[in-house]
C-alpha cells in the first residue's frame, strides 16, 4: 500500500472540514438561540397567540337628574381567526355559509376574510348581531374553525335623537386620528371614536381601555385554549347640566313650530349651566353605531350635523333693542319718559325706514316702545346714542365675541358699527346707525350669544360662560372634574337702568309682542325679534328669562325659529312650552330651600 500515507492525511482534512462546518452551524445556533432569542421568542408567541379585543364600554352620559343619555349594551360580534397557512377553498365555502345569515354578498365576506388572511389578524365579520342570527351562528362556530362569538359593549342612546347635536355620534377610526391617538392606550384601527359633540370633545375621557381574550391557536387557526382574559376598563362617566325633560320639550316644540327648524338654548343665568341646547333638524346617533349595511346607505353628509344654536348666525333684529336702550339711558342721551312720534316710517335724508307696523304707533315713550317693539322710536334714539356707542355696548353684551361654550365650531357672529367699518368702504353713515339700532344691517349673532345676553339682563350685569358639563367621574364614582361657574364678562350699568330694562321686558310678555309666552304663576321677561332674511321668510327670535315671583330668575332662554316670521307669533309659544317644562314640578333649588 504505497499510498497509505497520503490518504490518512486526507482523512484528517476531511475530518477538519466536517468539524469546521459543524462549528459554523453551532455558531449559527448560538446566534439564533442565544443572541436572537428574544426576538424569535416574540415571533413564536405571535404565532401561537391571538388577541381578540373586547371593546370596553364607553363612559356613560347622564343629564343633571341622572337620566341616562348615552349608555352601552352588550352585543355579539362574530370574529374570525384566520389560519396561519393558506387555505382559500375553505374560505369560499365559509363565505357562502355566512352570506345568508349576515345578509351580505359572498363576495363582500370573501374580501373581508381574505384581508384577514393576508394580515394574519383576527377580523370582525359582524357586530351587533341580533339574537336570532346569533343562535344560527353559534352552530356555525362548532362547524367552522376560526369562528368565534364574543360579547362586546356597543354604544346606545336611549333617548334616540334627543340632544343629538350636543351628544354627537361615533364613527370609525380614520388614519389621521390613529396617528394622533397612537400614544393613547386602547386605540386600534377598528376602534370607534367620537366624531361630533361631546363624544368627540371628551373622546379621551369616554373611551375606556379595551380588554381582550388571549387565545392559543394552532397553525390551522383552531382554538386550543384561553390563555388569559384581560379585563376592560370602562370610560369615565360624564354628567351634563342638561335637563332631559327640558331638552325634550324644546325639541318637541321646535319640531311642532312653523318651519320645524330652529334652535333653543336654555341656561341658568346665574351659573351658565345649559339646561337645554336644541337644534332642529337633528339625527339619531344610534344610526352610526349599527353597521351601515343594515339600514341602507346613510352617509354622513345626509345627516343634519349643523348645530344652529352655536354655529348658526342671524341678525338679532329687535332683540338688540335691549342693547340700544341700555346704551341710550346709561349714557344719558334720553330719559325714559321722552316721547317719539311714530307715523309708521322714519325719513332720514332721502331714505325711508319703515316701522314693522305700517299704521304706526303714535306717540310712544320707552316702555310702550319696547312693549310694542316700535322701530321708529329706536331709530331716533339710536341716532341720538350714536353708532359708535351702540357698537361699544353691543360688544359689551357679547356680540361678535365667542361665548366659549365648549363645543367645536362655535361661530362668533359679527359686530357691526363704525369701528368695525373703520378703514373700509362704504363708510359708516347715519343710515347704518338707524339699521344697527334695531339689530339689522351687517350685525350677526348666534343663539347662544343671545342666551348669554338675556342672561346678563337677568343677572343684572354678570355674563357667565355657558357650560354643559357638570362633572366627569371615574367608573368607580370618584369625581375627577367638577365644573365651576365662570364669569365671562361684567356689564357695568347703573342699577336703575337694569330696573328699567327688566321692567320693560316684563311688560313685553305681560301685554306686548311677547304675550304668547305668558305663563301663569311665573314672572317672565322677554323680547321678540325678527331677523330680516333677504332670501326668504324672516327668522323669528324670542329671548326671555323667567323665575317664580319673588325669586331670582332661574332660566334664560333663547328660541330661534328659522323662517318663522314674527318672533312673538311663532317663537313665543315655543318658549312658553319650554318654560313650562323648566318649572314643572322641579324640586326647589338649594338656595330656595335655604331661604325657607
Amino acid at each position: 500500500m504505497s499510498q497509505s500515507i497520503a490518504p490518512r492525511v486526507r482523512l484528517d482534512v476531511l475530518w477538519i472540514f466536517l468539524y469546521a462546518s459543524c462549528a459554523i452551524i453551532a455558531l449559527r445556533l448560538f446566534d439564533l438561540q442565544l443572541l436572537r432569542h428574544e426576538a424569535l421568542l416574540k415571533a413564536a408567541e405571535r404565532n401561537r397567540t391571538q388577541l381578540i379585543f373586547t371593546t370596553s364600554p364607553r363612559g356613560r352620559i347622564f343629564d343633571r337628574n341622572g337620566r341616562l343619555l348615552a349608555g352601552n349594551r352588550a352585543t355579539f360580534s362574530l370574529v374570525y381567526l384566520p389560519p396561519k397557512t393558506e387555505e382559500t377553498e375553505e374560505l369560499e365555502r365559509l363565505a357562502r355559509t355566512l352570506a345568508s345569515t349576515l345578509k351580505q354578498t359572498p363576495n363582500e365576506i370573501m374580501g373581508i376574510l381574505q384581508r384577514a388572511l393576508k394580515r394574519g389578524a383576527p377580523v370582525r365579520l359582524a357586530q351587533g348581531i341580533p339574537w336570532q342570527a346569533m343562535f344560527q351562528l353559534s352552530e356555525l362556530k362548532t362547524l367552522v374553525r376560526g369562528m368565534n362569538l364574543v360579547v362586546e359593549a356597543e354604544r346606545t342612546y336611549p333617548y334616540g335623537a334627543l340632544g343629538s347635536h350636543l351628544l354627537g355620534y361615533l364613527g370609525n377610526m380614520e388614519t389621521k386620528y390613529l396617528g394622533l391617538l397612537r400614544e393613547a392606550e386602547g386605540y386600534r384601527m377598528d376602534s370607534m371614536i367620537g366624531k361630533a359633540g361631546i363624544e368627540r370633545l371628551f373622546e379621551r375621557d369616554l373611551h375606556g381601555i379595551d380588554g381582550g381574550i388571549l387565545l392559543e391557536v394552532d397553525a390551522g387557526g383552531h382554538l386550543k385554549r384561553v390563555l388569559d382574559r384581560i379585563p376592560f376598563r370602562p370610560g369615565r362617566d360624564i354628567t351634563l347640566t342638561l335637563d332631559a325633560q327640558v331638552q325634550e320639550a324644546a325639541e318637541n316644540a321646535l319640531r311642532r313650530s312653523v318651519s320645524g327648524k330652529g334652535a333653543v338654548v336654555a341656561m341658568d343665568p346665574y351659573t351658565g349651566e345649559i339646561l337645554a341646547l336644541a337644534s332642529q333638524p337633528g339625527f339619531d346617533p344610534n344610526w352610526f353605531v349599527e353597521l351601515p349595511t343594515e339600514k341602507g346607505p346613510r352617509t354622513r353628509h345626509q345627516i343634519p350635523e349643523f348645530n344652529l344654536a352655536v354655529q348658526g348666525t342671524y341678525p338679532p333684529g329687535s332683540i338688540l333693542k335691549i342693547v340700544t336702550a341700555a346704551a341710550l339711558f346709561n349714557e344719558g342721551r334720553a330719559r325714559p319718559g321722552d316721547r317719539v312720534h311714530c307715523p309708521g316710517y322714519f325719513k332720514l335724508g332721502d331714505r325711508t325706514f319703515k316701522c314693522w307696523r305700517k299704521e304706526g304707533h303714535g306717540d310712544v315713550a320707552f316702555l310702550d316702545a319696547m312693549r310694542d317693539s316700535c322701530d321708529v322710536y329706536f331709530y331716533q334714539m339710536g341716532l341720538k346714542t350714536g353708532g359708535a356707542t351702540l357698537e361699544r355696548y353691543s360688544r359689551w353684551f357679547g356680540v361678535g365675541e365667542p361665548t366659549h361654550v365648549p363645543l367645536p365650531g362655535e361661530a362668533t357672529g359679527n359686530a357691526f358699527g363704525p369701528m368695525a367699518r373703520l378703514g373700509k368702504r362704504p363708510r359708516w353713515r347715519k343710515g347704518d346707525t338707524v339699521n344697527l339700532s334695531i339689530g339689522q344691517g351687517g350685525i350677526l349673532v348666534t343663539p347662544i350669544q343671545m342666551a348669554a345676553l338675556i342672561g346678563t339682563v337677568a343677572t343684572r350685569g354678570t355674563m357667565f360662560r355657558p357650560q354643559f358639563i357638570s362633572r366627569i367621574s371615574e367608573p368607580d364614582g370618584e369625581t375627577i372634574f367638577q365644573t365651576k361657574p365662570e364669569v365671562l364678562r361684567q356689564v357695568d350699568i347703573k342699577p336703575e337702568i337694569w330696573d328699567l330694562l327688566q321692567k320693560s321686558l316684563e311688560r313685553v310678555v305681560e301685554d306686548g309682542t311677547g304675550k304668547k309666552c305668558r305663563v301663569p304663576g311665573l314672572v317672565v321677561a322677554g323680547k321678540t325679534g325678527t331677523a330680516q332674511n333677504p332670501r326668504g321668510e324672516d327668522h323669528a327670535w324670542f329671548v326671555a328669562y323667567a323665575g317664580r315671583p319673588g325669586e331670582p330668575p332661574r332660566v334664560a332662554l333663547v328660541v330661534l325659529i328659522q323662517h318663522g316670521g314674527h318672533g312673538g307669533e311663532t317663537a313665543g309659544p315655543v318658549a312658553k312650552e319650554i318654560l313650562e317644562a323648566v318649572f314643572k314640578d322641579r324640586a326647589p333649588t338649594g338656595e330656595a330651600v335655604g331661604r325657607l
Binding site: A26, L29, N47, A219
Partner: protein, 444 residues
Amino acid sequence: MPFVARETIRGRMDWTLVWATVALLFMGTLAVASASWHLPYSNHILQKHFLALGIGAFAFLAGLSLNYQVYQDQSKAAYVVAILLLLAVLIFGQTLRGTRGWFRLPFFSFQPSEVVRILTIFVVANYLVHRGRWVTELPVVIGTFALAAPVLALILAEPDLSSTLVLFPTLLCMLFCAGARPSHLSALAGYGLVSFAMPLVWTYLSLRPERTASGLGGFLGSLSHFSLTFFLALAGFAAVLAFLYWFHAKMRFQLPWYYFAALYLVLAGGLSTGILVNHALKDYQKKRFVSFLSPEADPRGSGYNLRQAQIALGSGGFWGKGMFSGTQSQLGFLPERHTDFVFAVIGEELGFLGALFTLGLYLFVLWRLVMAARVARDEFGYLVACGLTGLFGFHLLINTGMTVGLLPVAGVPLPMVSYGGSSLVVSLWSLGIAQSVYMRRFML
C-alpha cells in the same frame, strides 16, 4: 469456536460508536414522539418508528457480522441490484409527494434509493481500489462519475433531487480520500457548483425582474436557455481564455494549456447542465430556492418553512421549552417537523444545549467513522468508511444547514434522528458495516 468468536467481536467492536448511536437514536425517538404527538396518526408513526428501530438493530448486527470484504467481491452484483431496484421503483413504485421512490410493503414503505446509495459506495470503492494506482489521472476521476452516472440519473428521474444532492459530494469525498488530485476535484466541484448555482441565479432573477434590466442581470438571465446569446457567450468566453493564455505566455508564465481548457469546460459544462437541471426542477423546488434567497417574498408560502424553523430554534433559547411543550412544533407551525425539520424540534424543546448535544453526538459518530477508515486494514474498507463518513457528514451538514437557514431548503432528512423507516434501517446497517470495517482492522 463460536464462543471465542463472540468474545473477539465484543472485544474489537467500537463500543463508543454504539453508545453514541444509541444516544442519537434516543434523541431522535424523543423528537419524533414529541413532533408527532398532536398528529392524528401519531400512534401509527411511533409504531412504525419502533418497528424500524427493531429491524434496524438486526440490520446493524447483519452489517457487523458479515465481513465487509464480501461487498467488494459482490460489487458487480451490487451494481446490478442497484440499477434494477431503481428501475423497478420507477415502474412499480408508489408516488409520494411528487417522487416515485417508494415500494409499498405490507407493513411499511421502502425507499430503495436509501439502499442504492450504500451500494453505490461499494461499487465506487471497488472501482477505486482496482484503479488505485491511476487515481491521480483524470480518466479515473471521470470513470468514477461515469460509473455512478446511471444511478444518479435514475434517482434524478424519480425525481429525488435531495438524494442526488447528497450522493454527489459523497463521491467527491471518496475520490478525495482515494488520493485524487485536488485540481481534478475542484474542477468537478466547480462543475457541480455551476450546475446548481445557475438555476439559483435564474430563480433569483425571475423573482427580481428589475435586476434583469441592468447589464449583468440581463446577460445572466439570457443564459437560461440554449439561445443565441448562450452560444455567443460560450464563444466569447473561449476567446477571452485564448487571449489570456496568449497574454500569460507573453509574460513568460509557464501554465499548461489544459488549465485554461479545463476552466472553459467546467464553466461551459456546468452552464449546460445547469440549464438541464433548471428545466428538470419542479416548481416547488424552485420555490425553495426562492424562499432561501428572499424569505420575505412570500412569508405564508415557501418562505414559511424556513422562517418557522428559525423561530422554533430561536424561541427555544438556551434551555429550551421542555419536551412536548414547544409551541412551534406542538401547534403545527413548524412544517415537516418529524422528518426534515426534526432538528428544529430538538432546538426548540431542548434549547441550545439539546441542539449542541445532538450536533456533538453526530460529530462523535462521524469521528468514529473516520476512525474506522483510519484503522481499516485494506483500501476497500478505508474507502467504504470514507464514503459512509461523507454520506452521514453531508446529510448532517445539509439538514442542519437548512434548518438554521444557511442552506436552501432541500428536503434532506437527518439520518437516525428524523422519522423514516428505510432511512433508519439503512443507516443502522451502514453503521454496522463501518463496525465491520473497524472490527476487522487486524490482519488475521
